[in-house]
C-alpha cells in the first residue's frame, strides 16, 4: 500500500503499541508478513479503506456469531494458505515465467486454490463481494485436482496423459518382474548359504563363513571388512540387470512425458497469474481485516474519525472521549489498580501539559500517540470517540529506554536536541509530535527558555500538531497555544493516606520515618490509585500544595523534610502571586 507514514520507532516504542500489536493475530502467511511490517499509513483513503474492511469483517463475524464452525473453518483454511510468490500477488504480468513451475510450485498453487475456494464458499455473499473473494478459476482447479489423493496434495497423475499411464504400467511390470527375481535370489541365498538378506543390502559374515562364498562369485560380491569378517552383497543376475536397463529407459520416457505435463499445467497457471495475484491480495486483506475486527470486538474499539487540515495549515479539533491507553489499562488490571479514561479536546495546534513528576503527564502523551498510531495503522481505537487528522509523520522526542546517546558521543541533552532537530526537519509536510519533558536535562532557566522558543515556533508550523509535557512552570504563555495540566494527585485521598500511616511530625532531618514500612511496589500502587489522569486547563484552580511533595511523602521521604518542603513551596507560591 502506498502512503506509508513515518511513525518513528521512537513513537512506536514510547506509546507501547507493541503490547497491542502482539495481540494482533492474522492467520495466513501473508497476513503474518504484513503484521511484521508494522505499517502505519499517511494516505487518508488507504486508511479509510482499512477501516471499511474492518467494519465489513466485524459484520461477517457478527453474522457468523451463531455459527462458530464457519469461523473455525475460515480460520482453518486461512492458516493453510501457502504463499504463492512470483505467480501470486507479486506476479503482475509474470505469467510467462510460470512456464517453469516444478512439482512443489504446482502443489502450492493447488493448495492455495483449495483453501481459497473453501473460504470463498464459506463467507456470505456480502463479505465475498466486499473483499472480492470470488473464485473464477474452475478450469485450473479442475486440472490440478486430477493430481493428488486429496484436495491439497499433488503429483503428476496418470490421468494427465495416456502415454504416462502406459509407461508407468510398463515400469510397474518391470518392477514386479525384478522383485520376483530378487525374491528368488534371496530365497536361494538363504537356502543354499544360510544368508538372510531380507531388508539388508549387505551382510557382515565371519572369515570362516565367507570362504565358501568366494567360490560363488557370480552370486555374491565378497570384500574384506576387518581382520575377522567380510562384507557380502548379493550380486544382481544378468536377468535383473537387463530389467534394470529396460526400467531406466522407461523412466527416461516417463520423465519426458512428465515434463510435458508440467509445462502444460504451468502454462495454465501462467494464464491465471493475474487472478491468482488478485485472490492472494483479497484473502490477505480479509485475513488482516478479520484480525483487526477480532481486536475491535474484544476491546470495544471504535472507528476513528479523520478530518482534513485546512488550507492555511490549521488543523481541525482533536477530540478524545473516554479513551483507554490499553497497555496501561491492562497493567492496572493486573495490579488491581483503578484506570482513568482520558477525555481531551484540542482546537489549537500546540498544547503544553504541566504536571509534577509521576503526575501522569507521560501517560497522557502515551495515550495520544497510541491512539494516533493505531488509527493510522488502520485499526479501530479504544475510545468512545477519537477525532483527528492524518499526519505524514508521528514522532516522539524524549527519554528512550536504552537510547544510544552516550555511544553516539552525545550527552542526554545533546541527544534530545538532535532528536528535536530531526522532528523539526521531518515535519515540513505536517506531523503529530509529542515532547515528553523536553530539555529536562538542563537547568530550569535554560530549559524554560528553550521550551518557550520551541513552543512559539511550533505554534506557527503549518499542519503540525504538537503536545509538550513539562514540569517547568515558567514557560512563556503564547497566544494560540493551549496550556493544560494533568489533574494529578487526589490530594484529599493523599492526605488521608499520609495521616492514616500514623506518622509523627518531626523537624527537618530528624530521622523519623515517613509512612509506615511498606514495600516500594505497594507505595507506587497507592500513588497510582490516587492519580487522576484527566487533562484540564492550567488556569483552573490547581488546589493548594504540591503534588511532587505529596508524592515524595508517599514514597517515604522523611516527614520533617516533607513539612519543610511544603512550607517553602507555599512561600514561593505566595511570592509569585504578589
Amino acid at each position: 500500500m502506498n502512503g506509508r507514514c513515518a511513525a518513528t520507532k521512537a513513537a512506536w516504542e514510547f506509546s507501547r503499541v507493541e503490547e497491542f500489536w502482539s495481540r494482533f493475530s492474522p492467520l495466513s502467511p501473508l497476513g503474518k508478513d504484513e503484521k511484521e511490517a508494522r505499517s502505519v499509513y499517511s494516505d487518508a483513503s488507504a486508511i479509510a479503506r482499512l477501516h471499511d474492511e474492518t467494519e465489513a469483517a466485524i459484520k461477517f463475524l457478527a453474522l457468523a456469531m451463531g455459527d462458530t464452525s464457519t469461523q473455525d473453518r475460515v480460520g482453518y483454511h486461512l492458516k493453510r494458505l501457502p504463499r504463492l510468490g512470483d505467480y501470486g500477488a507479486d506476479a503482475g504480468g509474470k505469467g510467462a515465467e510460470a512456464a517453469s513451475l516444478d512439482l512443489v510450485e504446482l502443489f502450492e498453487v493447488k493448495k492455495f486454490m483449495a483453501n481459497y475456494r473453501a473460504i470463498s464458499r464459506l463467507v456470505d455473499e456480502g463479505t465475498r463481494d466486499f473483499f472480492s473473494l470470488g473464485f473464477m478459476s474452475e478450469g485450473l482447479a479442475g486440472a490440478l485436482e486430477l493430481g493428488g489423493s486429496d484436495a491439497e496434495t499433488f503429483f503428476i497423475a496418470d490421468a494427465y496423459d495416456e502415454g504416462l499411464k502406459a509407461v508407468r504400467n510398463r515400469i510397474a511390470r518391470l518392477d514386479e518382474e525384478s522383485a520376483g527375481l530378487r525374491a528368488a535370489a534371496l530365497a536361494a541365498a538363504f537356502q543354499d548359504c544360510g544368508l538372510d538378506f531380507r531388508g539388508r543390502d549387505f551382510l557382515i559374515v565371519a572369515h570362516a563363513d565367507a570362504g565358501r562364498l568366494l567360490e560363488r562369485r557370480s552370486s555374491f560380491a565378497v570384500e574384506p571388512y576387518d581382520d575377522a569378517s567380510y562384507v557380502v552383497r548379493l550380486q544382481p543376475s544378468d536377468a535383473e540387470l537387463a530389467l534394470a536397463v529396460k526400467r531406466d529407459a522407461a523412466t527416461l520416457e516417463e520423465r519426458r512425458i512428465e515434463e510435458v505435463v508440467l509445462a502444460r499445467l504451468s502454462a495454465m497457471v501462467g494464464g491465471e497469474a493475474e487472478r491468482l495475484g488478485a485472490y492472494e491480495g483479497a484473502v490477505t486483506r480479509f485475513d488482516l481485516a478479520l484480525a483487526r475486527a477480532r481486536l475491535a470486538i474484544e476491546y470495544s474499539l471504535t472507528r476513528p474519525e479523520f478530518r482534513d487540515a485546512l488550507p492555511n495549515g490549521d488543523l481541525p479539533r482533536l477530540e478524545v472521549a473516554r479513551a483507554r491507553f490499553l497497555p496501561c489499562a491492562w497493567e492496572c488490571e493486573r495490579l488491581s489498580l483503578r484506570y482513568s479514561e482520558l477525555d481531551f479536546g484540542l482546537a489549537e495546534r500546540t498544547a503544553v501539559v504541566f504536571g509534577s513528576n509521576m503526575g501522569g503527564k507521560t501517560v497522557a502523551l502515551e495515550s495520544l500517540v497510541f491512539l494516533q498510531v493505531l488509527a493510522q495503522a488502520g485499526f479501530f481505537v479504544p475510545a468512545e470517540r477519537y477525532s483527528t487528522s492524518v499526519y505524514p509523520l508521528i514522532h516522539y522526542v524524549g527519554e528512550r529506554k536504552g537510547d544510544l546517546a552516550s555511544s553516539a558521543g552525545l550527552s542526554g541533552f545533546g541527544f534530545e536536541i538532535r532528536s528535536f532537530v530531526e522532528a523539526w526537519e521531518g515535519s515540513r509536510g505536517g506531523a503529530f509530535l509529542v515532547f515528553d519533558e523536553f530539555a529536562r536535562t538542563t537547568s530550569s532557566r535554560e530549559a524554560e527558555a528553550i521550551l518557550s522558543a520551541v513552543v512559539e515556533a511550533l505554534r506557527w508550523k503549518p499542519g503540525v500538531r504538537s503536545v509538550l509535557s513539562t514540569h517547568f512552570r515558567e514557560v512563556s504563555r503564547i497566544a494560540g497555544v493551549r496550556y493544560l495540566r494533568v489533574l494529578g494527585l487526589d490530594r484529599e485521598a493523599a492526605t488521608d493516606a499520609m495521616c492514616g500511616t500514623g506518622n509523627s511530625d518531626g523537624g527537618a532531618g530528624d530521622g523519623n520515618p515517613g509512612p509506615a514500612p511498606e514495600g516500594l511496589g505497594e507505595r507506587i500502587r497507592r500513588i497510582n490509585g490516587m492519580m487522576r489522569y484527566g487533562l484540564v486547563d492550567d488556569g483552573a484552580d490547581a488546589g493548594a500544595g504540591s503534588d511532587a511533595v505529596a508524592i515524595a511523602s508517599l514514597l517515604g521521604l522523611d516527614r520533617g523534610i516533607v513539612r519543610r518542603a511544603e512550607e517553602i513551596y507555599a512561600e514561593n507560591t505566595h511570592m509569585e502571586r504578589i
Binding site: 512439482l103 512443489v104 502443489f107 502450492e108 531388508g199 539388508r200 551382510l203 557382515i204 576387518d226
Partner: protein, 304 residues
C-alpha cells in the same frame, strides 16, 4: 538386546551418534526393514544434509535410502524427481536450506530417496508434528545430526538410539562415551511439583534444590550457589560435562532431571574387535544390557 519393530511402531525415534561414519544411516535402513516386515508405513527424515558420500560399514558410495509405496519422507525439492518413487507432495516446510525448500512427500511406488532435512531442531520438530498431526504416518524415524544430542529434546516424547563404531584404536574412548551417556540417562527425575506425589518425590532429594535453566557446563556450574544441595536441569541433553566433570559434580551435590528422554539403547558396530573384548572393556553388565550389535551381522554371529 535385539532391535524389534515394536520398539519403533507408533513413536518418534531419533538415530544419533557421536561422529561421522558411526553407522546412523545404515541403522536407519535396518530399522526401516524391520518396520516394513511388520507391515508399517513409516515416515523418515534427516536433520540437515549428510554430505558424506561413503558408507561407514561397507566403504562403498552411500546408497540413497530405499522407499516403499505409502512411506513418507522429507527432502529438498531438487531431489524429488530423481527419487523415482512418483512422489506426491503433501506439504512444504517453512523456510529454506542451502539445497532449496524442503518438501514432505509420500512415495506412490518404490524408489530411492536422498534425505535432506531441516537444519534446526525446532524446524525438525515442526516437520515431525506436521507428519503426525496430519496423520500421514504414525511412526517416524529421524536420521539425526551427529554429536547433537540436544535434538532429542526438541520433540517431546521422542526416543533415541545411539549408534557407535568401535575399533581397537578407540575402544577406550568409545566406552567412556557410552558410560557418560548411560550415567546421564540414569540420573534421577524430579517431576514438577504437581500434587502430593510430586512433593513426596522431592523429599528424596537433598535440599535446597536449585533449578538451572539452560545448560550445565563447567562455567555455569561455577555460578551455582554453593548452598544448593541438588541441582535440577531440564533433561540430560542439557548436561555438557565430561565423565570426570560429571563425577566431580555429583560428588559435591545431587543432580536431577526435570524430564527423562526415552533411550532405546546403544547400537554398536564392531570393527577388528570381538564382542568379548568389547564387553571386557565395558565392564558393566547393566550397560551391556542396553547394547545391541551390528544389525547387519549374518550367519553365526558375524564378527563375534
Amino acid at each position: 538386546v535385539r532391535l524389534e519393530a515394536s520398539d519403533f511402531v507408533g513413536r518418534v525415534t531419533f538415530i544419533t551418534g557421536p561422529s561421522k561414519h558411526c553407522g546412523k544411516t545404515t541403522l536407519l535402513n535396518a530399522c526401516l526393514a524391520l518396520l516394513r516386515a511388520a507391515g508399517e508405513r513409516p515416515a523418515f527424515l534427516g536433520v540437515g544434509f549428510d554430505g558424506e558420500g561413503r558408507d561407514s560399514l561397507s566403504g562403498v558410495r552411500k546408497p540413497r535410502i530405499a522407499i516403499e509405496p505409502g512411506e513418507v519422507f522429507v527432502t529438498a525439492e531438487r531431489y524429488l524427481s530423481s527419487s523415482g518413487c512418483l512422489p506426491e507432495i503433501l506439504d512444504v516446510l517453512p523456510g529454506s536450506t542451502a539445497l532449496g525448500r524442503l518438501a514432505v512427500a509420500r512415495a506412490r511406488r518404490s524408489g530411492a530417496v536422498t534425505l535432506v532435512g531441516p537444519e534446526r531442531n525446532e524446524y525438525a520438530a515442526g516437520a515431525i508434528s506436521m507428519i503426525l498431526g496430519e496423520g500421514w504416518a504414525g511412526t517416524v524415524l529421524v536420521d539425526g545430526a551427529i554429536n547433537r544430542i540436544t535434538q532429542v529434546s526438541s520433540f517431546e516424547g521422542a526416543r533415541f538410539l545411539f549408534s557407535l563404531r568401535v575399533s581397537p584404536q578407540d575402544v577406550e574412548a568409545q566406552v567412556r562415551r557410552i558410560r557418560l551417556l548411560y550415567a546421564l540417562h540414569s540420573l534421577p527425575v524430579l517431576r514438577r511439583a504437581e500434587g502430593e506425589g510430586a512433593r513426596d518425590q522431592a523429599e528424596a532429594f537433598p535440599e535446597p534444590l536449585f533449578c538451572l535453566h539452560g545448560p550445565l557446563t563447567e562455567e555455569t556450574a561455577k555460578r551455582i550457589p554453593p548452598e544448593a544441595a541438588t541441582v535440577v536441569v531440564e533433561d540430560f541433553t542439557k548436561v555438557f560435562l565430561d565423565g570426570p566433570g560429571l563425577s566431580a559434580f555429583t560428588r559435591q551435590r545431587g543432580l536431577a532431571l526435570r524430564s527423562k528422554a526415552d533411550f532405546g539403547g546403544f547400537v554398536v558396530v564392531l570393527r577388528d574387535l570381538t564382542r568379548g573384548k568389547f564387553s571386557a572393556a565395558l565392564k558393566d553388565r547393566d550397560i551391556e544390557e542396553m547394547v545391541s550389535y551390528n544389525p547387519y551381522e549374518g550367519l553365526s554371529g558375524g564378527a563375534a
